[in-house]
Symmetry: C2
C-alpha cells in the first residue's frame, strides 16, 4: 500500500542553519515506508497556494547532496513574509484542498513565530474537519525568541559569527595608537539574544565589547555618552555592541531618530550604529578620536562559513524529530530543545503544543542583564557558550563554499503522484 506524501516549506528570515532542518526531515522521511514522496513548497505558504511544489526526495540523491544542503545558508526552498489570514475559512479550505490534491498526510513548516501560528491554525482546521493530516512546526530564528525551547536553530551560528566578528573588528581597531570608538549594530528588533552573544568575543582574551545595549533595556543617551567618555579615559579603543531595536524612554526606536535626508531629499534610516556614532562625534571631543559604525547586516544570518557545528546538528535533529513525531500521529506541536546542563552540554528533544508557543516572544530574562544595564551576566555566558561550539567545516572547493540548489524549473504534477 502506497503511503501518503509529506510536504515541507520554509519561512521567515534567512539563517545559516535552516536548511539543515530540511535535510534532517527529508532523511527521516526517506527512511520510512509510510511516507511516499517528500514534496517542498517554494516560498512558503505563498508558493504553496500557487502550487509551486517540487519533488524534494527526487532531488536528494546522494549523501553529498544532504551534506551540501546542511551547509547551505538561507532558505533553499525560498521564503515568504506572507501570513495566512486568520479569519478566512476560505484560505484554509484552499490549503486543505491542495494537500489532498497532492495526497499529503504530513505538513511541516520551518520558521519563526508567524510560521508557528500558521501551523497551529492549520492543525486546528484539519482536526475540526476530521482530516487525517498532521501539522508540525520546526523552529528557526536567529533571534532566539521562541518560547518553550531552550534556544532556536539558526541562533548559534549567528551568535558565533557575531562573537568572532566583534573580536576581529576589535583587533582591527587597536592597531593604531589613537582613541577610537567602533559601534557594531546587531540584528534583533525586540529580543537582544544575538547582541548579547557579542559577549563571547571576550573569550578570545580581549575586552570588547566594552558596552552591550539590548532592546530589553530603555536606552538613555546621556548615560551612553557618560559611559563612553569614562571608558575612553582608561581604554584607548572601545567597541560597543548595540541591538538594532534599542528604544528611548518614550518607546521610539533610536534608529528612527537618526533619520537623515539623502541627496534627493528623502528620509533614510541611518541605522542605530550610525546614530550612536554621530552622537559620539558630536558630544565627545577628544583629539583625533576615530569613530566607526559597522552593520553586520545580512552577513550575520547568511555567513555559513561561520556556522556553529552544534547549531547545524541540532537544526538537523529538529527536522528529523519533526518527521518522527508526525509519523506517530502527533500534530499541532513544535519540536523543542530542552537543556539538562550547560557543561557538559546535555540536551533532549520534545514535541511541545503550539498553543503555548505561537505569537509569544522570549526576551532576555532581566536577571541575565547586568545591574548597570550595559552588560550581561555569567549565566548568559554559560547559556551561550555551548551554542557556538564546533567549526562546521563547510564544503569548500578551491577555498570557496559550495552550495546546494533545488531545481525549481519544473513543478510536480499532482496527477502523477498517485
Amino acid at each position: 500500500m502506497a503511503g501518503k506524501n509529506m510536504i515541507i516549506a520554509q519561512s521567515g528570515g534567512p539563517s545559516s542553519a535552516i536548511n539543515a532542518s530540511v535535510a534532517g526531515a527529508v532523511a527521516r522521511a526517506m527512511a520510512d515506508d509510510k511516507i511516499d514522496r517528500v514534496l517542498g513548497a517554494i516560498n512558503g505558504m505563498q508558493g504553496f497556494l500557487e502550487k509551486k511544489i517540487i519533488d524534494v526526495s527526487a532531488q536528494m540523491r546522494t549523501t553529498d547532496d544532504f551534506e551540501l544542503l546542511v551547509h547551505t545558508p538561507a532558505q533553499a526552498l525560498g521564503s515568504s513574509r506572507y501570513k495566512l489570514p486568520r479569519d478566512s475559512e476560505e484560505i484554509y479550505e484552499k490549503v486543505l484542498n491542495i494537500l489532498k490534491e497532492y495526497n499529503v498526510g504530513y505538513f511541516f513548516y520551518n520558521g519563526g513565530n508567524d510560521s508557528m501560528d500558521t501551523v497551529s491554525r492549520l492543525a486546528a482546521f484539519f482536526k475540526k474537519r476530521g482530516e487525517d493530516i498532521v501539522a508540525v512546526g520546526i523552529p528557526k530564528t536567529i533571534d532566539n525568541d521562541l518560547v518553550e525551547t531552550d534556544h532556536t536553530p539558526g541562533f548559534g551560528s549567528a551568535a558565533r559569527y557575531v562573537a568572532a566578528s566583534v573580536a576581529e573588528v576589535y583587533l582591527d581597531t587597536i592597531v593604531y595608537p589613537i582613541p577610537a570608538v567602533t559601534v557594531v549594530e546587531i540584528m534583533g528588533r525586540n529580543a537582544g539574544w544575538l547582541t548579547a552573544a557579542s559577549v563571547l568575543a571576550r573569550r578570545s582574551g580581549i575586552k570588547a565589547p566594552h558596552l552591550i545595549y539590548l532592546p530589553e533595556v530603555i536606552f538613555d543617551p546621556e548615560d551612553f555618552i557618560a559611559r563612553t567618555r569614562q571608558l575612553l579615559e582608561s581604554e584607548r579603543q572601545i567597541v560597543i555592541a548595540v541591538s538594532e531595536g534599542i528604544r528611548l524612554a518614550d518607546g521610539s526606536y533610536l534608529a528612527d531618530t537618526g533619520a537623515a535626508e539623502d541627496m534627493f531629499g528623502h528620509k533614510t534610516l541611518g541605522g542605530v550604529a550610525s546614530t550612536l556614532e554621530t552622537m559620539i562625534k558630536e558630544r565627545i571631543k577628544i583629539e583625533k578620536l576615530k569613530t566607526r559604525a559597522i552593520q553586520f547586516s545580512t552577513l550575520q544570518r547568511a555567513a555559513a562559513h561561520m556556522a556553529s557545528d552544534t547549531d547545524l546538528r541540532e537544526s538537523y535533529e529538529c527536522g528529523y524529530r519533526a518527521v518522527e513525531a508526525a509519523l506517530q500521529g502527533v500534530t499541532d506541536v513544535m519540536i523543542t530543545i530542552r537543556r539538562a546542563s550547560d557543561e557538559p552540554y546535555l540536551t533532549s528533544y520534545a514535541a511541545s503544543p503550539l498553543s503555548g508557543i505561537a505569537n509569544k516572544e522570549k526576551k532576555i530574562p532581566i536577571e541575565w542583564i547586568s545591574k548597570d544595564g550595559v552588560d550581561v551576566t555569567e549565566e548568559m555566558v554559560r547559556y551561550l557558550t555551548p551554542l557556538v561550539r564546533g567549526d562546521a567545516t563547510e564544503k569548500m572547493r578551491g577555498g570557496l563554499p559550495e552550495f546546494f540548489k533545488f531545481d525549481t524549473s519544473e513543478f510536480v504534477d499532482p496527477k502523477r503522484l498517485r
Copy 2:
C-alpha cells in the same frame, strides 16, 4: 661572538595575513646564530622613535605561539600612519642612533607603499653613512597595489572573504519572491583588485555579482541605472559589487556626492553603496523593489576566520625570505612573489630593488576589465583563483578563534642587550 640584533615593525592598514610575515621572519632569525635577538617596535616607526621596543624572540616560546601568531588578524605589533619626513636628515640620524643603541644590524618593515618608501630611504641613508645595517621590506596590503610582486600578502584572505560573503549575501537576498538590489561596498580607493575578487562568488554556482564597478573605470550614473534596470527585467534579485573608490568623469569620488546631513546638521559621508542604493530607489520604480547597501567595512581585512591558506603560507614565506636576504647582506629590497603558472599554481620568490617599487601603484590592467567596464575577464579569474585557495584552519577553542598577543607592558632596556 655575539651577533647583531634584528628589529621588525608593522605599518599601514590591518590584514588577516600580516602577522604570518612576522612569524616567518622571527622563525628564520631564531634559527640563525648571526642574529642575537629579535626585537619588535610597537606601532611602526612612530613607536620606534619613542623606543617602544619589545623582545619578540623572548615571547615566542612554543610552536603554538608561532601558529597562533600566524592566524591572528591585524598587526600584533601595532601599526601607525606616521611617515618619516623625506627631507629631515635629523630624523634619519635619530633612527640610526636608536638602531645602534639597540645593536641592530637588520631592519625589517612590514607594510604597503608608504612603508616601502621608508625602508628605501633608510637603506640609502645607512649606505651613505657607511653603516653595516641592512633594511628589507616585507610586502603587505589587502589592496594588492604594490608593483613588481605578482600579488601581496593579505590580499588573498581579503579576496576570499569578499567572494564568500558576496555569495552568502546573494543567497540571503534570493529567498523572497520580490525584486531586490543589494549594493556591496568593498575597500580599495584607487585599485580595484579586491572588488574584482567578488567575481569568485560565481564559482559557488551563482550569478552574483551581476555588476562590478572598479575605480579603474569612470563611473557613469546613467549607464549604471540603465544596466540595473535592464538586469531586473531578467533577474529577480541582483547583487552589485562596488569599490569605495569609484569616481565620476570629473574625478570626484562618488562617495562624496552622497554626503547627507546627519541629525546634528553635519555633513557625513554616506559611503558609495548607500549613494548607489539611493540612486536606485529614486530612479527605478518597480513595485516592492527592495534595496540594501552593505559595507564590508573592516570585516574584510580582519576576518581571520576566512583567511586563505595560500595567503598565510606566502605571507609567512615573505617574512622568512626577508630575513634570509638580510643575512646575505642584501639591502634596499622588498621580497616579491613571482608566478610561473596559474594552474598548477607555481611561484618563486625574489628580492627586488625598492627603487622600482616605492611610491608606485599597481592598478588592474585594462585588458582584465571587460569591454563594457562592469565585469572582469577570464584572465582575472585565473589570476585570482589560486590566491583564495585553502581553508586556513584557525586555532579555535569552543568554536571561537584564539589570538596571539604580545606583552607590551615592558619595553627592552638597551643597556641589557649587550
